[in-house]
Amino acid sequence: MRAWIKNRNIFIGSSITVALIFIAAFAPQVAPHDPTEINPMVRLQPPSKEYPFGTDHMGRCILSRIVFGSRISLLVGVVVISGSLLIGIVLGTISGYFGGLADDLIMRLVDGFLAIPSMFLALALAGTLGPGMFNLMMALIAVEWTSYARVVRGSILTVKEQEFVEAARGLGASDLYILVHHIMPNILSPIIVIATLGIGYAILAAAGLSFLGFGVQPPTPEWGSMLDDGRLFMRKAPYIMIFPGLAIMITVLAFNFLGDGLRDELDPRFRKEIPH
């Protein structure tokens, strides 16, 4: 545990993440204004004491919209990763532990999904399913689950040949018992690392799709669509685009710091390869 606190990446990443969760949880208390309140009297105001990040083309407080937007981004990130993990762990386990025809079928399915560059697949799915947060999350799960399935399968393949698994089987342990008590603990580390990095990726991709108009719809405050709103006023009011973009970058950066740090600590191979 001490090493974890000492690891600078983990420290920075988790501090920002905790701060973000706090902001998202207490959004109504943190935000100075109602994020959806339209006020034509204060359109396109530069940052001021009243509106620290300025106001958008409808006179809405940008800071408040960013504060509430953190809820959407974190929610999308967590839901997409949970969904992908669920599918990935189930299919990866079937594939790796039982092998045979199921393994072949699942791996061909993974190959199929991986054959389309992720952003194109997500865009095409989100675009054809129609705009909305649910469809956006579905589209992102469709591109994310494959990496979990592969990692889980790969880890199981190496772990299941180990002597302690053989021993457990020799003692008469059931498949389920072996999976839960012997295999899962051993594949947890790589999963934690890629899930952390995956949240960052999902948030980034979700913002990108919303920016294109295929994700979260107005008036819901979402960082990507806020950037889209600001495009037309780029010359006159650049701050409309600066702050939401900064929010996305800091959030994604936090998860990348955390994921990198966790990899250093959890993956013994990595620790050996790259001395710190």
């Binding site: 389309i116 560059p117 108009g213 950066l253």
Partner: protein, 314 residues
């Protein structure tokens, strides 16, 4: 080796078949009847006769599996059909836009190589110093920055404030129009390559042959330049092929923001316009390119790194 390649090529077939089904079903995932949506005009809904006629013309009156097989048969003959909107051949539109994407990707790749290889080497040589920290932080920012936001910052600085470069557009594909999109597109791949170059060189520097070279009394310049970097570059070079995949992903938003008429821009526009034949064709095309690229990367990697040759394919 040949067996490995053969097996690897064979595995592409089911993957592409799956892709063909996914891209074909795009039109059916969409809510609403494509024929009705497409014929909708400001005067109101189209007449049932007009919808029927359109369906027959586009082959939408057949059962779905027949439509798929017909489509697949045509696709295998290189015929991707005609755009629902402009009625141009889909294949022509895709070829034209892919040329633009390829051009932009190659320039981005050059930008990213020129930046990342020296930075990665620098970070590894100055391991655990301030310079190393800065390079790593830069790389982490590079993968975390939203490309549409980065595009905006670049446009704001270089086009709006300094007025050095055009805001957007193709402009005949000249270098001036390419600089900002190429930087935007190349950033994440530069970040990934910097990290890889750094860790690969660090690993090379810890090998026995480096200790031997140093023990022989070779100057550090030669130890690093001739022995370490040469070996460290192998994974980096193979990775560059995979980077083209990264570039394709980035092209979606980057091309759209800069109005660069590439395949990313084409897909986004086709989705806006619900041009289903165009969406189907482009997704399939992109997948074929992507799968071929990955195959080439795998084969070259196997060739360069004999250790993985005999392991299982999947």
């Amino acid at each position: 080796m040949l067996g490995y390649i053969f097996k690897r090529v064979l595995l592409i077939i089911p993957a592409l078949l799956f892709v063909s089904m996914v891209s074909f079903s795009m039109a059916y995932l969409a809510p609403g009847d494509p024929a009705e949506i497409l014929l909708m005009s400001p005067e109101g809904s189209p007449s049932p006769e007009a919808i029927d006629a359109f369906r027959v013309r586009m082959g939408l009156d057949q059962p779905i599996h027949i439509q798929y097989l017909r489509w697949l048969e045509k696709v295998l003959h290189g015929d991707l059909g005609y755009s629902f909107i402009s009625e141009r051949p889909v294949a022509d539109a895709i070829t034209n836009s892919f040329k633009a994407t390829l051009k932009l990707s190659l320039v981005s790749m050059i930008v990213s190589i020129v930046v990342s290889i020296p930075l990665g080497i620098l970070a590894a040589i100055k391991h655990n110093t301030m310079i190393d920290d800065l390079c790593r932080l830069g790389a982490l920012i590079g993968v975390s920055i939203p490309n549409f936001w980065q595009a905006f910052l670049l446009i704001l600085l270089f086009s709006v404030h300094l007025d050095w470069l055009p805001v957007a557009g193709y402009g005949g594909g000249d270098i001036e129009h390419m600089i900002l999109p190429a930087i935007t597109l190349g950033t994440s791949s530069a970040a990934v390559t910097t990290r890889l170059m750094r860790s690969s060189l660090l690993e090379a520097l810890s090998q026995d042959y480096i200790i031997t070279a140093r023990a022989k009394g070779l100057p550090e310049r030669i130890v690093i330049g001739k022995h370490a970097i040469k070996n460290a570059l192998i994974p980096v070079v193979t990775m560059l092929g995979l980077n083209l995949g990264f570039l394709l992903n980035g092209a979606v938003v980057t091309e759209w923001v800069f109005g660069w008429p590439g395949i990313g821009d084409l897909v986004v526009d086709s989705i806006y316009q619900r041009d289903f034949t165009m969406i189907q064709g482009s997704i399939l095309f992109i997948a074929v390119i992507f799968v071929t690229l990955n195959l080439l990367v795998d084969i070259s990697y196997t060739y360069l790194n004999p250790r993985i040759r005999y392991e299982s394919v999947d």
